[in-house]
Amino acid sequence: MSPQAAQEAPLGFENTTRHNLRDIPSLGYVSGGGIATKELPKVGLLSGIQLAVEGVFTMTDAAALAPTKSDFAPYNLIKRIRLSANNGTDIYNASGWACYIDNLTSTFNYRVGQSGADEVFKFDNTSAAAPGTVNTLKFNLFIPCRLNDRDPLGLLLLQHPSTQLTLEITWADLTKNAGYYGLYTNAETIDAFSAITLNAYPVAEFFAVPADPRNLPPIDYIIQTLEDQFSVAAVGEQVVDIPQGNTYIKLAAWHYHNGVLAPSSDIDKYEVRYNQTEVPYSVRANNLRAYNRNMYGIDVPKGHFVFDFNHQGLPNLGTARDYVNSQYLTDFQLRPNIVSGAALGTGPMIYLLRKQIVKLAG
């Protein structure tokens, strides 16, 4: 190859880009629960959004009633996180809790939510007293749109002239009793919430666009993360039909029984089944939780079960070996078995976080 030809050859994305972190204006808490939106700056190739929720609020109660934290707090203060392209196509659409589970199962030994790490997480000093107690709240979430930290698959070309990405946050109502959304299960018995100053501070993680378009990473794939809910009618084997069409890299399911996160003992078996008879995963629920512990270095919360097709020694850094291309399957199901003694209560649900690689159709 002549020196001139060598100069003209594409250098590849890794050699022609630069990692960037940049603040985006904050999204304030909407009183009574509501939606806050922000359009993302049209710069670079978006890799993800780091979201820090911080602020203070005052709780007053004449009888100094202790607020009871929801199983999903503080992450369920965010009812929905939605990252959408041109306001029509969801790239990320999940609750704050689902985003936390996504984060927890994407990093080995994830400790960002550990109490005591005061700089990034604070939700242990929560009380209500007669003259009013000021409570500080801090937590972090990462909204990924790329496959992982290493591979440039799923990056979104923000500076395309016609593309507009919008980050939308739906806040839960802090003052209402929490089931799946909100902070406290007894919020309505607390006399008053006041001086609520809570903000979500997003930071965009993006990569500089190479000058030569030949060095662009493949941008005709996106990583789509969606959360669905399936109602449970009765105990016994449940059939959760997983929408087909794309390539799955992770499925995380959690059970909501009796108004709280279900104890893991409510479920005794988990299966993944496709093409009616193929069962690649058929495990005792407790074994699956132990397997999950091995994968992530920590326990996933109770009632949670994860099938991670992108795990090979390290979470989220696997190859395509175990990916499930659901396009040509006749069916694709998750089949947990809820034990007969489980107290389901009202409105039992199975929540499902689905992470998939979507090849954009022409």
Partner: protein, 75 residues
């Protein structure tokens, strides 16, 4: 059967998307991308620090041990 179209994310034929080629046209499971990953993993690219490969460190260590052994035998 993809649920999202390229035009949903990048409407029209912008100057940048027009340049982008398919990674692999016969690619229901994006085999082209998998190959790229596999080749990267399978190569002898051990971790490198400042451009020096780890096996250079191993050679250096071996040489040091040989010299140390020779010095000890001489003493």
């Amino acid at each position: 059967m993809s649920t999202v179209r390229l035009g949903d994310i990048y409407p029209g034929q912008g100057p940048l998307t027009a340049e982008i080629a398919e990674p692999d046209a016969h690619d229901p499971q994006f085999a082209g991308y998998e190959r790229e990953l596999q080749s990267r993993l399978a190569g002898v690219q051990m971790f490198s620090i400042g451009g020096i490969h780890a096996n250079h460190y191993l050679l250096g260590l071996l040489a040091t041990l040989v010299v140390a052994g020779w010095l000890q035998a001489k003493a």
